[in-house]
Amino acid sequence: MSRLGLGAALLAALAAAVVLGVRFGPVHLTTGEVLAALAGGGPEWQRQIVVELRLPRLLLGALVGGGLALAGATFQALLRNPLAEPYILGISGGASVGAVLVLALGLAGATSWALPLAALAGALLAIALVFRVATASGRNLDVRVLLLAGVVVAAFFSACVAFILSVSEARTVQGAVLWIMGSLAGASWASVGVTAGYTLPAAALLLTLARPLNLMAIGEETAHYLGADVEKVKRTALALAALLTAAGVAVAGVIGFVGLVVPHAIRLLVGSDHRALLPLSFLGGATFLVLSDIVAQLVLAPTQVPVGVITAFVGVPLFLVLLRRSLIP
């Protein structure tokens, strides 16, 4: 498939998903009611549903999904590992420790920002720790060490979570499980603003690194001989991808499969030129998470299925089909 063609298709799909998500939700509204609400008319409760629940949730889904897929594509290139995904460096583990601590200490009720801030702090702590270890040898950042340190730090943080939960009340455990499972239910215009404030600049900067990332994918030494500032690219790209992930985890918890499956799917469709792969991954991730969240809200409405369940249920078979097709000559 041509890059432009896929780009146009994904953009159209994202637009269609947003229209779909504004039109349909767990509560039945007619097209006329939705349009009236968007124009600022109609009953107050319908305006709240459309303007304060559906729209911010769709935008947050697009930002988080796009950020996760872009981060996943970056990690896969830098770590040269197809299993790399946004949470591989312990970011989700660090965020979970932050969130669970806030819940266990009873601070979650103080302000609605306590939990996302703690999650963000935990994620940044995990990144800092892993980077420290990976650069301990000298000036060079060794990606193999980074990967190993990330896996080990993730294991340590998950042990921390298990320990905190084992000495916590049942309702703290319940709250932690709900938070960790990931959901866009906390979306508001304020959370959309904050997430956009992190995601959009980080994503734009990452897109400018597409060409050096192409060289890096061949090998660091080759990239160095071809004129790439390998160390700078590595550090910048990793930090940006980590920030994207941390911002997503802080507002929506841990949502799996988007960051792993979407970049691979895009790569299978258009190849691994990062100038196309990175923007298309962002668009693909945004579309995929928005659509998954619509399904998650509608399939058993009004009961909400965790969106991570839908991303796995839809993403895995889709990916397996793509994978199989790529093997058939």
Binding site: G25, P26, V27, L38, G40, W45, R47, Q48, I49, V51, E52, L53, R54, L55, P56, L59, L103, A104, G106, A108, G109, A110, T111, S112, W113, L115, L117, S166, V167, S168, E169, A170, R171, T172, Q174, G175, L178, W179, S183, A185, G186, S188, W189, A190, S191, V192, G193, V194, A196, G197, Y198, Q297, A301, P302, T303, Q304
Partner: protein
């Protein structure tokens, strides 16, 4: 709020990422009582006829301009309390966990934790009753954003259940009915306590099931019921409300009998040589059924005796 003003909120948050920290909690209904309370109390007294200020189980102060007339209860025991106060007619939506038959005709908002916010808004509640504490952090934050008043109730202990009765009574303008219900329940509990007072206490473990087995500890509604009904919690020394304990503990402790919601869920090594009594969900809703539950437990502990 209009779409345009909401976009401005998002934009200002985007420009000043952490500035919203400062204004976030100010949106919360918890802070509202202070807003208009100080300036002129005389005006407040006349204009707020019928206004209610509540303090919920989280210690939040919640101000209602008038008693709630459209209530969504996310907590099954709160739904039962509302019915016992004659306020079933005020309930406008239910959760999937409400088992009482009268509520089944109402629209559902999904689960009691992280319900569908759209379904909540569509029911146009003027009060949402939710679980207090850290179980669900997203829902209270979202209700604050939407300007829907909410109160948390904590169904842990008998006193919490009675507090919930009073809170919901005040919230729905049924304070007198709530007070008389509380007095009746207390009198009934006292009579069960009196009937079992002279008997030697049986050592009871309440096992929820699981592997390792989860048991009820101190500070639970279950332990209080056991004590009223002439029992003694064999795990009264646990560090938390509920905890998983090893099978060894069961063998080492002096236990006369095991109470459990469903005996099928128990490890055979735990139950070996002990009397096991099934209670179903009788002890799971600390609400208006509390006195009935105490009588049930008393009868189960000593089936031979008449009260």
């Amino acid at each position: 709020m209009t779409l345009g003003s909401r976009l401005r909120v998002a934009l200002s948050a985007l420009l000043l990422p952490w500035a919203v920290q400062a204004c976030g909690p100010a949106d919360g209904s918890a802070d509202r009582p202070e807003d208009g309370a100080a300036p002129d109390t005389s005006a407040a007294a006349t204009s707020t006829a019928g206004a209610v200020t509540l303090t919920d189980a989280d210690g939040r102060r919640v101000h209602l301009a008038r008693p709630a007339a459209r209530v969504i209860s996310l907590v099954p025991s709160a739904t039962q309390i509302l019915a016992a106060l004659g306020a079933a007619g005020l309930v406008v939506a239910r959760t999937d966990h409400d088992t009482v038959s009268w509520a089944q005709v109402l629209p559902s908002v999904g689960g009691g934790l992280q319900p569908s916010l759209e379904a909540v808004v569509a029911a146009r509640p003027d009060l949402v009753v939710r679980f207090a504490g850290p179980q669900d952090t997203r829902t209270p934050a979202a209700l604050d954003e939407l300007g829907i008043p909410h109160v948390g109730i904590r169904p842990d202990r008998i006193a919490d259940a009675l507090d919930a009765v009073r809170l919901l009574g005040e919230a729905t303008g049924r304070g007198a009915a709530a007070d008389s219900l509380v007095r009746r329940l207390q009198a009934e509990l006292d009579s069960v306590r009196a009937a079992t007072a002279g008997l030697p206490p049986l050592r009871v473990a309440y096992v929820l099931g699981g592997d390792p087995p989860w048991v009820a500890g101190p500070g639970t509604y279950i332990q209080e019921l056991l004590e009223i009904a002439g029992g003694e919690n064999a795990f009264a020394d646990l560090g938390s409300l509920y905890a998983a304990v090893s099978v060894e503990e069961f063998l080492a402790r002096d236990i006369d009998l095991i109470l459990t919601p469903a005996a099928g869920r128990l490890d055979a090594r735990v139950t070996a040589g002990l009397r096991v009594v099934e209670v179903g969900d009788a002890l799971e809703f600390p609400g208006p059924g509390v006195a009935e539950a105490a009588r049930t437990v008393a009868a189960l502990l000593r089936p031979g005796e008449r009260r």
